[in-house]
Symmetry: C2
Subunit: 197 residues, 2 copies
């Protein structure tokens, strides 16, 4: 019977939530961040509108979850890459560079949810703002030269924002060139930190 599949209640819900979140990002990308309707999301997610509202009681809750989803994803990656117990722990800057690369290589508009949230109410981006500030502080504190760290941060910020808007301004070669250059910078920082330790 179906019962043999260990699909317990929680897993069911979690699955639905993720499906809905992914669907919301897709719809946002396709119909414009400001035209995200619950009906469209529900349909795309293969869920009824009632089911959608069950998981996210209001549209605002959905938007918040969309931002949080992105943040959690980052936080997990960052923790994993910089884990001092791992074989090759990275510095925060190295991890950030890697994450930015992945961000740009992801299917276009994977983070369109962020835009949808912003379109609805700019305050939904407040957690993202605080997150970025904390990240920047960490990058500055780990670097030889805080200004360089700041510049690196902004370069990546520029790159990812172009990507977020799906503005194909940079070629792949240009992107790669920049990432390699930043990686060198990060490597130098790392060696410096190791030497002075």
């Amino acid at each position: 019977m179906l019962a043999q599949i260990g699909r317990n209640v929680t897993a069911r819900r979690t699955n639905s939530r993720e499906k809905i979140l992914a669907a919301a990002a897709e719809v946002s990308r396709e119909s414009g961040a400001g035209n995200l309707s619950l009906d469209a999301v529900a349909q795309r997610a293969g869920v009824s509108k009632g089911g959608l509202l069950y998981n996210f009681p209001t549209k605002a809750k959905l938007m918040q979850a969309l931002v949080q989803y992105y943040l959690d994803d980052y936080e997990v990656s960052m923790a994993r890459e910089t884990d001092p117990n791992s074989a090759m722990p990275k510095t925060a800057l190295q991890a950030h560079i890697e994450f930015s690369r992945e961000f740009c290589e992801k299917p276009p508009g994977a983070a369109s949810g962020i835009l949808a949230a912003m379109a609805d109410d700019p305050h939904f981006l407040d957690p993202l703002c605080q997150f970025k500030r904390r990240l920047l502080d960490r990058l500055k504190s780990e670097a030889r030269d805080p200004l360089r760290a700041l510049m690196c941060f902004l370069v990546l910020e520029g790159m990812t924002s172009l990507d977020l808007f799906e503005m194909d301004v940079l070629s792949n070669e240009e992107r790669e060139l920049v990432l390699v250059r930043l990686a060198e910078e990060a490597e130098a920082d790392k060696n410096h930190a190791a030497a002075s330790a």
Copy 2:
């Protein structure tokens, strides 16, 4: 005095158009980029809805004008600052830095219209995308080192995108530090170009 200025028909219209464009940006900022309604814009601009639709027959036309308005502003500034006949002609990079500084110093969300256009339909940003690509090519061609130019471009892109989203990530000091650093870079480029000429 003011009456002596022949406020002709065109000027009247132009005035209305600018008032509407400014109002649209304000409304976009206040109610979220995706919640820009024609009624709200008309009210804010002190224009009837009929008058709004007289100037911009459809919402799409308004959005396009919003983007074009920003682009024209930039183009005019750029032409003025880099005019070889002026006393102190700047390089494109120097002008771009200056423009980015002004962008960040403007009243918050002066360019929210861009976000509103994007929220409605991402394709409205196509002209902006092409514009950025042309700018980047110009910066690269004028610089000693194309990669450095690209990095400078991205730093400014990151700075202005944070500003566009009204994410107060950078302090004023940090912004100034970055701007000064970029200005030095641009100055070095300029001297190099002058020496090799």
